[in-house]
């Protein structure tokens, strides 16, 4: 459908509406918010990975001149031990509250213990150092395999494993265990001629957005709290804050500032409730901003994992059985993305027999949170490495192997759902035909790798209102914070429906008081779902205009003529006409001018919860060179092919892919949380936690394959997350081709690669 349509706006590359403000420094990000009389806060954080808090003495801090208030967990209401859906999935409120300010135990280095508000940040910092905390230091455990061992230090007294939906009575760090099954793996392995089984380990990594978390809160005399913050979802901050603070959602207004990156890391609340508590105590607005060290030690990260994967194939390259056991670090509280990891690991393929076991394991690290296709990158590193081994050992081209086993419409995923129309095979074919893949890679120590990936994408809920201005332009109000050009991609969809220029749509991101409920900017859902709402709201505008024109034209015609209805009014190319009278014609702009004489203002509105989420697939090709003396891997060339459904604004689609690839390359080669024996992180800075710089990368070529998603009027699929999934496996496969060594650990840092080469 969408392929045949000629669009006016969709597929063009206009400048984003918030662009000028963002290149001139005028745009207000969370840390730029300033209020009269505003106080500055600082959080005291645990220096220990695991400790019981015996006492907290804040008296010296309170006595310091310039200090206005100190808060601890005592200032929070008792949180119920209940599960609530807070927009990014189910969260236990007690855990959420305990993560905001520790109650009995510090569960990781960096766990918030207390916070101070003072006249400036320096005084607040001094005051924090005057707070005396008595700790009982406990043994800590930092990785999933260790935390699962008998006799491992237990993080949560009384926590037992929920296994396959049943509560067990074993006290454990394993919060839960699930299993997905399709077919019969034991039978499948009997048919296999070649079985490969490997164990993989991936390190904890951070989202690494450049803007630190921030929150400014004002708790006024009527008990109403206003929060200004950089967040992926204002409504989610509202809900979480109201639950943690024990006040109704209607008492919390969240005003989203511009946001400097999130990648999943700016969904949970950390500072917002603390700033609110400090504001209540002081009667002033209070601002909190994290340092980079706090970012690493107290937010994010995405889990380290242990993956055991076994796959079997026939001689002719048909994979007949695939089995995985995934143990993911949840961090200090349950809730790792091990579920999504299991949903994605084998989903590019139509293997007949599959089984996945997933374990959610608490460890003494910060509570993990979403990071771009959470769980899928860890999982694909394992499965896509084994696919490459099959190709190599069976003498089949690795992309052809994917063609032979690739999933199509109607194939089932291991976790149950059946694929709708998807474009996985189209990505593989585009890669096979690409000039990159057909150009021989020459030179010593070089290798080319490929890998594919899947991310299911989400829909969730969005609201959009379109208000028509008297000059024929419109204002569009939406609730999705704009992290990468979505004001443009949403406005473009409205402009397309309205038949007006892109520049005639002025989009605004509103807070919780300004627009209907809208879920987070995440799950690759914004251009899909909020775009869908914009499409519906624009259609609502057109519908109202048609009704008015039918009525108006009826008033003009003489008595006795058959009355026109809205159905008789046509709209195309920005002009209304009448199917029964070719002489009638009114432009959108003329209709806008007519509003006061035809019933008043026109606002189109839509709230959506679209179900037709189109899954996203990617296939990547990478060339590397490995320095034989140091083990350092250089990326020579990178091509990322992706089914994007329909690219609304191709530049921002390419940008999502290029950014995702870069994060994936960082994850592959350098990024890792490094820990000392005592459970303290030793590289909590951008100097030592090494993210890719522009010198580490070549240009990243993208190929946008467009297999329209039947679940969206323009065929949009979410594009933001899947590009991070293939890179670690693709790079590992390239390193293999360069060195003859299989990589089983992330990151593949120079030391690790060198060890492998010398082993």
């Amino acid at each position: 459908m969408a392929e045949a349509t000629a669009y006016q706006v969709i597929g063009t590359r206009p400048v984003r509406p918030d662009g000028a403000d963002k290149v001139t420094g005028r745009a207000i990000y969370g840390a730029d918010v300033r209020m009269a009389g505003m106080l500055h806060g600082k959080v005291l954080r645990s220096p220990h990975a695991h400790a019981r808090i015996k006492s907290i003495d804040t008296s010296k801090a309170e006595a310091l001149p310039g200090v206005k208030a100190v808060v601890t967990h005592k200032d929070l209401p008792e949180a119920p031990d209940k599960i609530a859906n807070l927009g990014e999935g189910a969260v236990n409120l007690k855990f959420l509250s305990n993560n905001v300010l520790a109650q009995e135990k510090a569960l990781y280095r960096g766990h918030a213990i207390a916070a101070v508000a003072a006249v400036n940040v320096h005084v607040a910092e001094e005051a924090v150092n005057l707070i005396e905390v008595e700790y009982d230091i406990l043994p800590s455990v930092l990785t999933a395999p260790e935390a699962m061992e008998d006799g491992a230090p237990i993080l949560h007294d009384g926590m037992t494993t929920t296994s396959l939906g049943e509560k067990t009575d074993r006290e454990s760090n394993v919060a839960s265990h699930y299993r997905f099954t399709l077919g019969d793996v034991a039978e499948g392995f009997k048919q296999a001629d070649l079985i490969i089984e490997r164990e993989f380990d991936t390190a904890t990594v951070h989202q690494g957005y450049i803007e630190p978390h921030n929150a400014t809160a004002m708790w006024n005399e009527e008990g109403h709290v206003t929060i200004w913050t950089s967040t992926q979802g204002a409504f989610v901050v509202q809900k979480q804050s109201s639950e943690v603070l024990g006040i109704p959602v209607s008492q919390v207004s969240v005003i989203p500032a511009e946001i400097g990156g999130g990648f999943g890391g700016k969904i949970p609340v950390y500072l917002e409730p603390v700033a609110a508590l400090l504001s209540r105590k002081t009667g002033q607005a209070v601002k909190l901003v994290m340092s980079r060290t706090e970012e690493f030690e107290s937010t994010g990260p995405t889990p380290g994992s242990r993956l055991n994967v076994k796959m079997g194939a026939t001689k002719d390259g048909r994979v007949v059985a695939a089995e995985a056991s995934l143990a993911f670090e949840a961090g200090a509280f349950p809730g790792s993305p091990v579920g999504p990891g299991g949903m994605c690991i084998f989903s590019p393929y139509s293997f007949p027999n599959m089984q996945v076991d997933g374990y959610d394991v608490v460890v003494n690290k910060p509570k993990t949170t979403a990071y771009r296709a959470p769980g899928a990158t860890n999982a694909a590193f394992a499965s896509e490495t084994i696919m490459d081994e099959f190709a190599e050992q069976l003498g089949i081209d690795p992309l052809q192997l994917r063609v032979m086993n690739g999933a199509k419409e109607g194939d089932r995923r291991v976790d149950g759902p059946t694929h709708p129309r998807i474009g996985f095979l189209e990505t593989v074919h585009a890669a096979l035909e690409h000039e990159h893949y057909n150009t021989p890679l020459e030179g010593p120590n070089r290798g080319r790798g490929v890998a594919s990936g899947f991310w299911f994408n989400v829909g969730l809920q969005s609201s959009v209102v379109i208000n028509v201005n008297s000059d024929g332009t419109v204002s569009l109000v939406e609730g999705s914070t704009d992290i990468g050009g979505t004001r443009a991609s949403i406005a473009m969809q409205a402009a397309e429906v309205l038949g007006i220029p892109y520049e005639s749509v002025r989009p605004t991101v509103a807070g919780t008081d300004g627009v209907g409920y809208t879920d987070v900017t995440g799950g690759s859902r914004t251009t899909f779902a909020t775009g869908y709402a914009a499409y519906e709201a624009a259609n609502d505008v057109v519908r109202q205009m048609k009704e008015r024109l039918a009525e108006r034209w009826n008033a003009e015609t003489e008595e006795g003529a058959t009355a026109l209805t809205a159905e008789d009014v046509t709209y195309s190319g920005g002009v209304f006409g009448c199917s029964k009278d070719a002489g009638k014609s009114v432009s959108f702009q003329e209709m806008a001018e007519l509003m006061p004489r035809t019933g008043g203002p026109i606002s189109g509105r839509a709230t959506v919860q679209p179900r037709g989420v189109g899954g996203a697939f990617a296939t990547h090709i990478v060339d590397v060179e490995v320095d034989p003396d140091t083990g350092k891997v250089s990326i020579l060339r990178y091509t990322a092919v992706q089914d994007v459904g329909k690219a609304i604004h191709p530049s921002y689609v390419e940008g999502q892919i290029q950014g995702g690839v870069t994060q994936g390359v960082g994850w592959a080669l350098n990024e890792a949380y490094l820990y000392r024996e005592d459970g303290n992180m030793s590289n909590a800075s951008f100097l030592d936690y090494r993210m890719p710089t522009c010198l580490d990368l070549p240009m990243i070529d993208t190929v946008l394959v467009e297999v329209p998603n039947p679940g969206h009027p323009f065929g949009v699929r979410g594009v933001g997350e899947v590009p991070i999934v293939p890179p670690p496996a693709a790079v590992a496969n390239a390193i293999y081709r360069a060195t003859g060594q299989r990589m089983t650990d992330l990151p593949m840092s120079p030391g690790y690669v060198l060890d492998k080469m010398q082993s």
Binding site: R13, G19, H122, I210, F686, C694
Partner: protein, 160 residues
Amino acid sequence: MATRIHVQTTLNGEAVEFLCDSRQSLLEVLRDDLGFTGTKEGCSNGNCGACSLQVDGVLVDSCLVLAAEVDGQAVNTIEGLASPAQLHPLQQKFLEHAALQCGICTPGFIMAAKALLEKNPKPTEHEVRYWLAGNLCRCTGYDKIVRAVLDAAETMEASA
């Protein structure tokens, strides 16, 4: 509290004076005291380049410069780059190439690129990448940033 230091400086061409503590960075004074929040803070220890600006024409990480050090010097920030009617070519090219996603790194990149083009008006791709390696962007993968800078260099050359 120690005595505050009196600083006289030029900020984007205007004479500005302020009082600061000896421990305050230039970044902090600009953002928190003078209200120039266009210069961003990503790390406060010289590792991300979000706070890039020029002091007497020299590119610096303003989180590593003490406010007291700029006495008698000229400070140029992102806020001073565009003329009233027109964006600077770098700003324009960043927009045209979609070289920003979240935009938090953008002021730093643009100020760093400006300093590069003043030294080297016709940089190669490698020279751009080498010069900008002190600026982190987590969103774009740098591809479109590098293209924007190269394109801006060409435009500025052509109109020079």
